[in-house]
């Protein structure tokens, strides 16, 4: 059984339950129950109509739960007979679910968890494993998130930008546990792109595809990071790259530039270079200028300094870096790299070691320590 296919039915089934009058929190629990039941029952007895099966089972679970709840509160009159199915506006429902799960009243971590469960159809256990927290903690996070959005009308228009931020966060988490969050983020962004015509949704999808294409080459067999310039480009996924570039070009042609399209354009320029030396750094700097104009983010200006160092030489890169706040994450690492390119190995070695102490993750710390070790070994010979 293809679990991703099963899970892709989640938003429309959930949408139908909500349209039939179920409240969002109860409907979401019922759909989750139905998914678990499907994983158990389908391999031996696959249904003719998977979606119909899920709707029937989820609706029954919803009624059972509501009845049990009502009985507990001695208010049996709560439950009506099964209402006639409401109008089925699947695409709209899916979009509404994205808006609801990424509602601005939610914290980023809650929005991520709720999106993965209610739109992605992942179980609480899978989400907990992926984010390395106890299952009970994740269950609480999700039920609090559902309470937070309980007053939001289901047909209320939402903000695409908040949805994109949530999907971007999911993608960037990479993966741990048995769920590939990057692949899941791509699936959800594809689904969103099918539900709404928006150049930034396309831009984010292209960005994800272009970065995902490099994944196999990003880490060595011992788990250490491989920088872009040293990656084996033969291992890049050309199908993903071609799809990402095509989606990006269609989006850019609409002349409504946004930050994800600009980031994707930079990724596409890297993908386009058969060897690192042939990278079109001049164009990449231009895209960073666009990106800085769109976002005014110091991280963008830091990355721009790296690109300037490649396009105009390390001295120019160091000059661009000097204009930035030295406390920025990875500022020291960039300085180390540019000093090495400039031939000042003792300074580069010292800065790599300092950058390693400031690194925010283990893989980056190990990588930077190795860089310092590499230069110190060379210097001591």
């Amino acid at each position: 059984m293809n679990e991703a296919l099963l899970r892709s039915l989640t938003p429309s089934v959930l949408g139908i339950l909500v349209r039939r009058g179920a409240d969002f929190a109860a409907a979401e629990d019922a759909v989750q129950d139905a998914l678990v039941e499907a994983v158990r029952a389908w391999p031996a007895d696959p249904p003719q109509d998977p979606k119909g099966w899920l709707i029937t089972v989820a609706w029954r679970r919803f009624l059972d739960a509501t009845r049990a709840d009502a009985a507990r509160r001695r208010r049996e009159d709560l439950v009506d007979e099964e209402p006639a199915p409401g109008p089925v506006l699947e695409v709209d429902d899916t979009l509404q679910l994205y808006f609801l799960c990424a509602h601005p009243s939610l914290t980023p971590s809650s929005a991520v968890a709720l999106t993965l469960r209610a739109v992605g159809g992942l179980t609480t256990r899978q989400i907990a494993q992926a984010y390395l927290v106890p299952e009970a903690t994740m269950a609480q996070r999700i039920s609090r998130a559902k309470r937070t959005v309980s007053g939001v009308r289901f047909d209320q228009p939402g903000d695409v930008a908040t949805v994109l931020r949530v999907l971007y966060l999911v993608f960037n988490e990479g993966y741990s546990g048995d769920v590939d969050l990057a692949a899941e983020a791509i699936r959800l962004t594809r689904q969103l792109a099918a539900a709404i015509d928006h150049p930034e949704v396309a831009g984010l999808l292209a960005l994800m595809l272009l970065h995902h294409a490099r994944r196999a080459s990003r880490t060595a067999s011992d788990g250490s990071l491989v920088p872009l310039a040293q990656q084996d480009r033969g291992r890049w996924d050309t199908v993903s790259i071609a799809e990402g570039v095509e989606i990006l070009q269609a989006a850019l042609a609409r002349d409504r530039l946004g930050e994800f399209q600009a980031q994707a354009a930079i990724a596409a320029l890297h993908a386009d270079a058969p060897v690192a030396e042939e990278t079109d750094w001049v164009q990449i700097v231009e895209w960073y200028d666009e990106l800085a104009r769109l976002t005014d983010s110091p991280v963008v200006r830091l990355n721009r300094a790296v690109a300037v160092g490649e396009a105009d030489g390390p001295r120019a890169g160091l000059a661009a870096l000097a204009a930035l706040d030295a406390s920025l994450p990875r500022h020291t690492a960039v300085a180390a790299y540019l000093h090495e390119r400039d031939g000042d190995l003792p300074t580069a070695a010292r800065l790599y070691a300092e950058a390693a102490r400031k690194a925010a993750n283990l893989a980056e710390r190990d990588h930077l320590t190795r860089q310092a070790a590499r230069l110190n070994t060379r210097l001591s010979r």
């Binding site: 011992d222 788990g223 190795r370």
Partner: protein, 135 residues
């Protein structure tokens, strides 16, 4: 079974025998060290003795309550003399002797020159739930 915390210190522990900072090793020595640590954790997972392992960033902050309506006070990072935890591993083993044996193996991880670091690791037993049968 008893749980133990194996603490690795950035500073505050007695000096290791093979005490060379990692950025003064060769890249190959770093790789060998990383591999040893991974293999060690994988082996303990295999024997059913591994619980958790995490690494910590060196720079931290001390924080305390400063009274009603006031923001918490922060202090630090402190001077070199203070104890500084680098990371931990939690193991669940049959005996204190086994915990000591494993800590010894972890301390033998290779460092500069490919030789064991002989690093001092701190072994701390968890305080447990009271036993059901007490007499």
């Amino acid at each position: 079974m008893a749980k133990y915390l194996l603490l690795k210190h950035y500073r505050g522990a007695p000096a290791a025998v093979n005490d060379v900072p990692m950025d003064r090793w060769t890249p190959e020595e770093i790789s060998a060290h990383m591999q040893y640590m991974r293999d060690f954790a994988a082996r303990l997972e295999g024997t059913g003795e591994f619980v958790d392992g995490q690494a910590l960033a060196p720079e931290g902050t001390f924080v305390r309550y400063d009274g009603e309506g006031r923001p918490p006070v922060t202090d630090g990072p402190f001077a070199e003399t203070k104890d500084l935890i680098a990371g931990w591993m939690v193991i669940d083993v049959d005996s204190y002797e086994r915990a000591v044996e494993l800590a010894g193996e972890l301390s033998a991880a290779p460092g500069a020159g490919g030789k064991p670091i002989h690093e001092w690791l701190e072994l701390r037993p968890f305080l447990t739930e009271p036993p059901t049968i007490t007499e």
